[in-house]
Amino acid sequence: MKKQLIHFIRLVNFEFERMIKFLFGIIAIVIVSNLIGSIIVPLSYMSEARETMSLESLNVTQFLEMYPSFSISTVTNSLWIYGPLALGISGFLFYSIYIWYREWLGKNTFVYRLLMLPIPRIFIFFSKLFTVFIGIFSLLSIQYVMIRLFYFISPSLVSSDLYKQVDVSEVISSHRAFAFLFPESFGLFAGLYSIGLVFLLVLFTGILLERSFRITGFIYGIVYAVISLVLIVLPSFIPTIFKNQYILYPSEILLLIIAAAIIVSVVSIFLSKYLLEKKITV
């Protein structure tokens, strides 16, 4: 038992080391772009504000009546922040697929080595899952730290009468992506990341179906993903389907969604275990 745990931790560490260049690359892009944004956005706000004020001969009070003041939200709503975040998230989506296919592709077919390790093969599955999750969490933590950092940089570049203090929780809750990625309530947070986890489980299972049965498997994979999706969203459509809004309480619908998500996860794990043990081909 203990030995198996050590093997698993080593495998996660190994996968993490293989990801590190990619992860640091993404993180570097986020940091650099965020830093540039935190400087450029207030500067350009200031120059625009000055220009507008002089062109329209407005004083600060008049200006603020017609135009928005500067807050940290001004920074977070800029492309400097959205851009690398979108890049990072789509990067990880790509990486979730690449983390499997790289074992088969290229001159060195490492999948032989991985499958021949004297450990349960589902460890390979979980180590990859963990690694992607660690990567995404690292990216998001860095993003969160960057938001905090903006408070030390941007305000000093804007004249104080144009700056409006908005605290972090408000910046996040008013931001379309951040509100989603950094939800305030723990329930929402857990729910969101559980959905992310279920998504990865289904994606990995789909990949393993493709790797086991090739073209036919690709079709199985898509069918599997569609069924999983339908199963999870179905409860929210029950009132519509039965044309009866009162058929279930919202909490009951939520419970059904959770149940569906758990079923999909368990099926995904067992199906992946079965495929890795019995159906996979090098």
């Binding site: 080593r10 001159k107 060195n108 077919t109 490492f110 004297p118 450990i119 093969r121 019995k278």
Partner: protein, 229 residues
């Protein structure tokens, strides 16, 4: 003993193995012989549970396949299977991390035997030296059986000589070896048992020395008889 019993395998609709049965004893060098495309590699992959079979069974010392079998049987495929950017040293450390049966002393013996430098990166090595690294990580495991897929293909004559020396050396010791090849002449004197394969079936299974003693036939003579029949 390693037993392959009535193994059937299809890729899509194409039948690759059509009821393959043979055994390989511990202490013997067993050679799977046949032209390319008759399913030699597929048999090894099936033994190692690297590809599913539709029918039949594979037993290793009477036990079915399991993750623990990789501590008893090693496979050296005809491809580099360590990450290209790893140094030989890192590749060895990786093996040691997961295999209870990794034998560091033998690994060092092999490094010396093959004249390799552990600080070299695998991707910078010649094809012959990459093949040696593959052999190294397989042979350094204290397993009972070693499977090698075409260990002599595509490498120069000196490397080939060096690799065939392995077979008679203490590096193999008393383990069971199965090797596949389409070219017997290099190793005819080294092997115990020959399993002749034709299109997914076993055509003949025999001990080379018995064939010489009882029929006065060389392995190539038997091949000629079997394949021309």
């Amino acid at each position: 003993m390693l037993e392959v019993k009535d193994v059937h395998k299809k890729f899509g609709r194409k039948k690759v193995l059509n009821g393959v049965s043979f055994t390989a004893q511990k202490g013997d060098i067993t050679c799977l012989l046949g032209i390319n495309g008759v399913g030699k590699t597929t048999i090894l992959n099936a033994i190692m549970n690297l590809t599913p079979i539709q029918k039949g069974s594979i037993l290793i010392d009477e036990q079915p396949q399991s993750p623990d079998m990789y501590n008893r049987i090693a496979f050296i495929p005809d491809a580099a299977i360590m990450l290209p950017h790893m140094t030989i040293k890192e590749a060895m450390a990786f093996m040691q991390d997961y295999y209870d049966v990794w034998n560091e002393k033998r690994a060092k013996d092999l490094i010396r035997f093959f004249r390799l430098k552990t600080s070299d990166k695998i991707q910078d090595l010649s094809k012959g030296n990459q093949a040696k690294v593959s052999l190294l990580v397989g042979l350094a495991l204290d397993v009972d059986y070693i499977l090698m897929d075409e260990p002599f293909s595509g490498i120069d004559i000196f490397t080939r000589e060096q690799i065939s020396e392995v077979f008679s050396s203490h590096l193999i010791a008393d383990r069971g070896v199965i090797i596949t090849t389409h070219e017997i002449s290099d190793i005819e004197h080294l092997i115990d048992k020959v399993v002749l394969l034709g299109d997914g079936v076993i055509l003949k299974e025999f001990y080379a020395e018995e064939m010489r003693e009882q029929e006065g036939l060389s392995v190539v003579d038997v091949m000629r008889e079997v394949y021309n029949a």
